[in-house]
Amino acid sequence: MSFWETFYKNKLALTGSGIVLLLFLVSLFAPWVAPYDPGQIDLKNVLLAPSMNHLFGTDQLGRDVLSRMIWGARISLKVGFVATGVAIIIGTLLGAVAGYYGGWIDAVIMRFVDIMLCFPTFFLILAVIAFLEPSIWNIMIIIGLTGWMGVTRLVRADFISLRERDFVQAARVIGAGDLRIIFGHILPNAMASILVAATLGIAGAILTESALSFLGIGVQPPTPSWGNILTAGKDNIDIAWWLSLYPGLAILITVVGYNLLGEGIRDSLDPRLKK
């Protein structure tokens, strides 16, 4: 069965891609989908419970929560992709070099991975971000810089198992250089596991960003993000449950969506990896 045939038969994977697609559309069309301006302060309508006018209620400055969440979807999409992109690029390069060359290069790189894995990731991210000012670009890059180790191990394992295969030997015999063998011959064969790691990585990055923004060290207000709406939820925890409920639900559904998609891709690309 081809990739698409298997993928289409997988209902969970289809649900996942549906969720992800919906998020893309909402982010893309945020200015048209959002019922209100997400920054529109209305001090006469502060902390209104959900109603027909404001489906998800209003926050402590009278801003429409649904509109802020729709714009927040853009942020989490951006963070997810950029952070994961950084992690995948670093992880793939280091893993490829370590797996292909082996020897002391491999030893040095893998030692570095071991050292990085000793740090509770959240501690490391928090420390770096606080010292670099919490702008959205810093957050994205730092989440990526602290999240590449798993990818390195994965890619390295793939390279080690592939580097002695016949097609690589053949490429070597016809005189292909190391770069060409790494990027032209071995890497395409490792793409499947990288793609799966990337999809699951996006979910992780979105979770991390929301936790950082919740702590006030991530995306800074007034820019809306799901995490910083939840901060307002905590500040008004005894009077405004809607500020706590809906943004968290959005994070949960998004992360479930990417996880389902990732597992769906894995099962369809390589049935042997199926759990």
Binding site: F123, L126, F131, E133, K234, S244, G248
Partner: protein, 313 residues
Amino acid sequence: MIPLLLGITVICFFVMRLAPGSPVDLETQMNPKSSVEMKERLKTLYELDKPIHQQYWSWLKKLSHGNLGISFASDHRPVTAKIMERIPITILLEFLSLLIIIAIAIPIGVLSAVHQDSLFDKMTGVFVFIGFAIPTFWLALLLMIFFGIHLGWLPISGLRSLNYEYLTAWGQFVDLARHLVLPVFISAFGGLAGLSRYMRANMLEVIRQDYIMTARAKGLSERDVIYKHALRNALLPAITILGLSIPGLIGGSVIFETVFAIPGMGQLFYMAVMARDYPTVMGVLLIGAILTLVGNLIADVSYAVADPRIRIS
């Protein structure tokens, strides 16, 4: 061990030197009486006027004596003392969460493997999937709203009630326990999904082995086969997974200690990060990494103790 430790200190040090503003500015900007000389004096005091490798070397030398420097916070106390008074709370919380993770995740994993594809298996499958995806701080908020505010059963902040001093010893214990319920549950929740899924996979793997067939063939009851022969072998690798979950638990302490206002290491870290208290941030980062290293070491050792095959090879 030693190269790992050195690597950890280098990364800690590098991270701290990324900072654009210096702590001297932070202390002098707010003070109209500060002069240029005072700035210089502070710079010398914090050794910020020396080249970076000397700063690292002198930091490392002090470190070897357990001296993490003086906090930049207004209390100007030694960082080691600040961390030491908070570590027991964090370790107590992590330890309780580990116990809960073990007590819940292992039975779930084993039962769902033994009854593969049953309703129970499917339901725990859904639970695990949600467990992987749920933001723990959000779950904390929901539980605070439900148990703390809506039902009013549990306190939602701190470790002690205001009248703690006046309670009997038993009353103090109950008070502390009530304060711990939500934070420990939240801290354990993240690890539950991972370990139960892992136990299930392990158990499924073990049940297919030849020696299980042998056990069945010689007429042992299904109970004995599962709980004596299979379980022991499936439990072993779980030790490693527990070791691997330690950095996550410690990292998570920042979130739930901040949410529940618990005076542990995570909260100290959060406050230090917000105040740009370099020595404290560096100290907690370092201690966090060392705790992880120790946790993994304990996991490795107990694995070797539990499994004779490891010792031989």
